[in-house]
């Protein structure tokens, strides 16, 4: 549906100098419209991989290409600008790189997709954690991204809100067919979302295991109790 390109890491290495790499020999491919989950222990470099994918960092060795434009990034914390309303925060992406004329419509559209149409004039301090995260999502969506990069976006939420948002993101990804790279430390979450899970390990870190997750789509958070998913999760766990 989105007609995007594959995101490709080709022999990527990253570090302060070529001699001091923290990531090395990174080869990965996220096929267009597919979800790849990236999992690994804390501090192993998952966020760095995501930032390389986003273009926020340049690889020391190798190349990163494809994935489509625009790219959207959802941080661990909502990272909303406190002086802007919900609508203004969402509009930020378009202010910097987007058509002026459609702005209001696209903002309204994005807010509608995350169920926050009524909250447009609220300030971030008035939002709950879950609502703020939704705004962050809406902001990611408003630019009609081809590539969606998620950095443990649900980790700061309580269990109930997390379930809700997982469902919503799943639905959005499936509806919009977004090429997605999801970084998480939660094996269940990885199994739930991904078509393929990559395990990042070692020093310097590299892809230690590639595990396809052949569970059928569409998926929903309710499946987290599914034995099939649990099985997949255990496989991932073993590989970490």
């Amino acid at each position: 549906m989105s007609g995007g390109e594959d995101l490709v890491f080709d022999g990527v290495g990253f570090g302060f100098t070529p001699a001091q790499l923290v990531l090395s020999k990174l080869d990965l491919r996220v096929r267009a419209g597919q979800v790849v989950g990236l999992i690994g222990l804390s501090g192993c470099g998952k966020s760095t991989v995501l930032r390389l994918a986003a273009g926020l960092l340049k690889p020391t060795l190798g190349t990163v290409r494809g994935g489509g434009r625009p790219r959207a990034f959802v941080f661990q914390r909502p990272t909303l600008l406190p002086w802007r309303t919900v609508a203004e925060n969402v509009a930020l992406a378009l202010e910097l790189a987007g058509p002026e004329g459609e702005r209001a419509d696209r903002v309204a559209d994005a807010l509608g997709r995350v169920g926050l149409a009524d909250a447009a004039d609220k300030l971030p301090r008035a939002l709950s954690g879950g609502m703020a995260m939704r705004v962050s999502l809406a902001r990611a969506l408003v630019s009609r991204p081809r590539l969606l990069l998620l950095d443990e976006p649900f980790s700061s939420l309580d269990a109930f809100t997390r379930r809700q948002l997982q469902d919503e993101v799943l639905a959005l990804q499936q509806t919009l067919g977004l090429t997605t790279l999801l970084v998480t430390h939660d094996v269940d979450e990885a199994a739930l979302f991904a078509d393929e899970v990559l395990v990042l390990k070692g020093q310097p870190a590299t892809i230690g295991a590639r595990l396809p997750i052949p569970l059928p789509r569409p998926r929903a958070a309710a499946q987290l109790r599914d034995p099939a998913l649990a099985q997949a999760a255990r496989t991932i766990e073993a590989a970490v």
């Binding site: 930032r51 990034f73 941080f75 914390r77 600008l81 002086w83 930020l92």
Partner: protein
Amino acid sequence: MGLGVWALAATRLPEVLLPGPDDVLQGVIVHHERLAAATWTTLQASLGGLLIAVVAAACGATLFLRSHWVEVALYPYALLVQTVPIVAIAPLLVVWLGYGLPVATVTAGIVAFFPLLTSANLGLRSADPAQLELLQLYGASWTATLVKLRLPAALPFVFSGLRTAVGLAVIGAVVGEFVGSTGHPPCLGYLVLQSARSADTALTFATIFVTAGLALGLFAAVRAAERRIIGPWHGERG
């Protein structure tokens, strides 16, 4: 209670040493026109100086942000502005600017500058790294990042600096007036000198109180502006 202690002390001392609250109040009432005119002049100098200081601090902080070399090169001069005593600079300013409002405006600006520079500096660098990454992701230029992220983020710090700076600006203006005023139009510094030298201690005290009142008034104005501008999104929740 403070007034009571003051009044009691005043009865035991000659008026020229310590006028009582009633004498001072009398002074304010009798000379209210002169005091009002003088306050207006000193207010102009204070606000003018504050404006200069704000602009200079904003430019300075932005330049420092843009270039570390500029910061290293110019910071010592900024510090110099802060440390040289105004009383020493003021006569030089009179030579360059002549007697009158300009001298007091400049001295007010000099005194208010450094706290504003420091808070602007701090403020511009206070942006959340994640927010900076966000803007980088959108391909925002350095200027766009400055305008859309750093400047709003800096506002709480700037207001904090401004709260200090307004009081200093008033003091700076008065000190400038001690050296470079003509009495026409009347200003608070000149009035202090004149009344003190005429041994009109009640008027001197009255002038000092009015000066303090001016500083407090400006402080309150900053507070009010702060509440309106950043209140909705910054500070303790109501």
